[in-house]
């Protein structure tokens, strides 16, 4: 509560000091001191930015048939094509698509599905966790029992089943268009349990604290108490789980797409590209498979390392 007369100045000062606060914080200090964290952050940033700006960076648009030349097919990386003389940084696939460009666009799909699925799982998990922790009783029993049951099944299997069921329910003519969204829902639904369990546990602890009691006494609604008072205090473990979940979601998406039950060939993700590349493993066109696979691994590994670091940094007890 800063009721200072010169209100015009206040926002500017607050903003500046917030950056200062961040730079002076323990988190930033441990971040600077951890080479793994710095490197993986830089790698993640580069990958995310190149995915976001794919249309600007990619030399060609691989999904525009007009820009493709079948004569360019199977060009090895950094070598001029025998017929056209064109050179491609990472080579081309069977249809003459530039592998570098398909990877950039594929990473877009992978990251979009991964981030959207984790956000979906996070919102669902936080909501159900808060409700079951705060309300208790039958609601809690039903939600947490469901979570227990779901936890006994591997999440990739749950995602596959949900994908299959949802695919069955969508009309045939929309299946390819809807595939990405179905994928997001399937991976998201397979992953909410972690969030719900952690949030419920933290809520049970916070619920007994005095500030919640105070909020209840001054007549705030349960809805407001959950969202405005308890939620901010249970967010830090959620952040850790979200980062690790992102790595898992990216791999889950790649696995499903690789199996042919994910992103359609019209919107290939990294997994779809690896599926396509596997077909050329025996004929010697290794670059069609290798580069998407390496990109996927780099992406998943750096997000994972970042998550590990975040867990250690936010939970000094675990160190």
């Amino acid at each position: 509560m800063t009721d200072i007369p010169e209100q015009g100045m206040a926002p500017k000062i607050a903003q500046k000091s917030r950056l200062r606060v961040f730079l002076d914080s323990d988190i930033y200090y441990t971040f600077k001191r951890s080479p793994v964290a710095v490197v993986s952050t830089i790698v993640v940033l580069i990958l995310v930015l190149s995915a976001v700006f794919a249309p600007l960076i990619a030399p060609t648009n691989p999904f525009n048939p007009a820009s493709l030349n079948l004569m360019n097919g199977f060009t090895p990386p950094m070598e001029p094509n025998a017929f056209t003389g064109d050179t491609f940084f990472l080579g081309t696939d069977d249809q003459g698509r530039d592998v570098f460009s398909t990877i950039l666009y594929g990473m877009r799909v992978s990251l979009f599905v991964g981030v959207a699925a984790v956000l979906f799982a996070m919102v669902l998990g936080i909501t159900l966790g808060l409700i079951s922790g705060y309300v208790g009783g039958w609601t809690e029993t039903i939600i947490m029992r469901t979570a227990d049951v779901q936890l006994t099944f591997p999440s990739i299997l749950v995602a596959m089943l949900i994908f299959g069921i949802a695919k069955g329910f969508t009309p045939v003519e929309y299946r390819d268009q809807m595939a990405i969204w179905v994928l997001i829902i399937a991976i998201g639904l397979s992953d909410w349990v972690q969030f719900a369990r952690v949030v419920r546990g933290a809520t049970l602890v916070e619920k007994r604290k005095e500030y919640v009691e105070a909020a209840r006494l001054i007549g705030r609604t349960p809805y407001a108490i959950m969202l405005r008072h308890i939620l901010p205090n249970v967010l830090s473990p959620v952040l850790v789980i979200a980062t690790i979940s992102l790595a898992l979601a990216i791999i889950a998406e790649a696995t499903l797409s690789f199996l042919g039950v994910g992103a359609p060939p019209t919107q290939p993700s990294l997994g779809t590209l690896i599926r396509i590349g596997q077909g050329f493993l025996f004929s010697g066109e290794w670059w069609i498979l290798l580069f998407p696979a390496v990109t996927l691994l780099t992406l998943a590994l750096s997000v994972n390392l970042l998550g590990d670091w975040l867990r250690d940094a936010l939970n000094p007890r675990l160190r």
């Binding site: 099944f153 591997p154 990739i156 596959m160 695919k167 790649a254 199996l259 596997q278 493993l281 691994l297």
Partner: protein, 326 residues
């Protein structure tokens, strides 16, 4: 105690009923079953007759009950894609998956425990550290990439092992086994390693951390003071006491192996149940999907129930808070 077991069984039955409801809804509401079964040439009487035959004119609850009745008897209907009874297809495919799962399970258990004990005893040794770091990479590599990598090394580059299929199989009383032919055994190696690797690292890391925990205990120090041989301490005293959590995890991982077989079977085109399921999703073959869903749920729920009940017998400490509390 009996009350606890009965309650757990009740819960399991409830879960299976709900899964059955999901499977049944897929049957009933995805597309039109009549459309799927009758071809282009059909009359209104045909449709009416089939509707009565399938019981589609009955109330929902009656239909659901009939579906469950069929499922319990192993009758899951006819595959839309292959036009044969689903149970027949499943029985035909089951040996491939079970053999693959058994071999990779054994690989995972044997090597997992051996490496776990080794890395725990030689905690600071170079080899142990190397194995631990390698296992980290193993955990973060997606299964399908491990499979592709193995195919690349052993099939494409070295040409030692086949990259797909089961090789020759021998039929023994309806069970087609790949164990008895050379090509069958060769074909089994790569898929089994791919499938077992993740479980192996999991078991190894668990055994290692449990061993380290146990080796710190007083009774181990006492055994050392008594002058017992290292081997006796490590294997007779320490390893035995790490087994309770390890057995639990192994039990739970059995189900996971069958589930992850879906991925391995697709990479290696292994003609098992998992590949069948993936193809069923691709072609929206609802009866096969529903049957697989039911089967795998029965398996998972069953394994969990058994592990929970075993827990109860193995570890007396759990009896008090599990049965009494809540």
């Amino acid at each position: 105690m009996l009350a606890y077991i009965i309650r757990r069984m009740g819960q399991s039955a409830l879960v299976l009923l709900i899964v059955g409801l999901v499977a049944f809804s897929m049957f009933r509401f995805v597309g039109d079953p009549i459309d799927n079964m009758l071809g282009q040439e059909r009359t209104a009487e045909d449709i009416e007759r089939l509707r009565e035959q399938l019981g589609l004119d009955q109330p929902f609850a009656v239909q659901y009950f009939r579906f469950l009745e069929g499922a319990v008897q192993g009758n899951f209907g006819v595959s839309y894609r292959q036009g044969r009874p689903v149970s027949e297809i499943l029985l035909e495919r089951a040996p491939a998956t079970l053999e693959l799962a058994a071999v990779s399970g054994i690989l995972a258990i044997v090597f997992g425990i051996a490496l776990g004990v080794f890395t725990a005893i030689r905690r600071n040794g170079f080899t142990a550290n190397f194995i631990m770091s390698a296992s980290l990479i193993g955990v973060s590599l997606p299964t399908f990439l491990i499979g592709i990598l193995l195919i690349y090394i052993f099939s494409v580059e070295l040409g030692w092992l086949p990259s797909f299929g089961r090789g020759e199989t021998v039929d023994i009383g309806g069970w087609s086994t790949g164990f008895l032919t050379e090509s069958g055994l060769k074909a089994l190696i790569l898929p089994a390693i791919t499938l077992g690797l993740y479980q192996m690292t999991l078991i190894m890391r668990l055994v290692r951390s449990e061993m380290l925990e146990v080796l710190r205990q007083d009774y181990i120090r006492f055994a050392r003071a008594r002058g017992l041989k290292d081997r006796a301490i490590n294997f007779r005293h320490a390893l035995k006491n790490t087994m309770v959590p390890v057995i639990t995890v192994i039990g739970l991982q059995l189900g996971a192996i069958i589930a992850f077989a879906i991925i391995t079977e697709t990479v290696f085109q292994w003609p098992g149940v998992g590949l069948l399921f993936i193809n069923a999703i691709q072609f929206v073959d609802i009866p096969v999907m529903a049957a697989y869903l039911m089967l795998i749920s029965v398996m998972f729920v069953g394994i969990n129930l058994i592990v929970d009940i075993l827990y109860f017998f193995i570890d007396p400490r759990l009896r008090v808070d599990r049965a009494g509390g809540h």
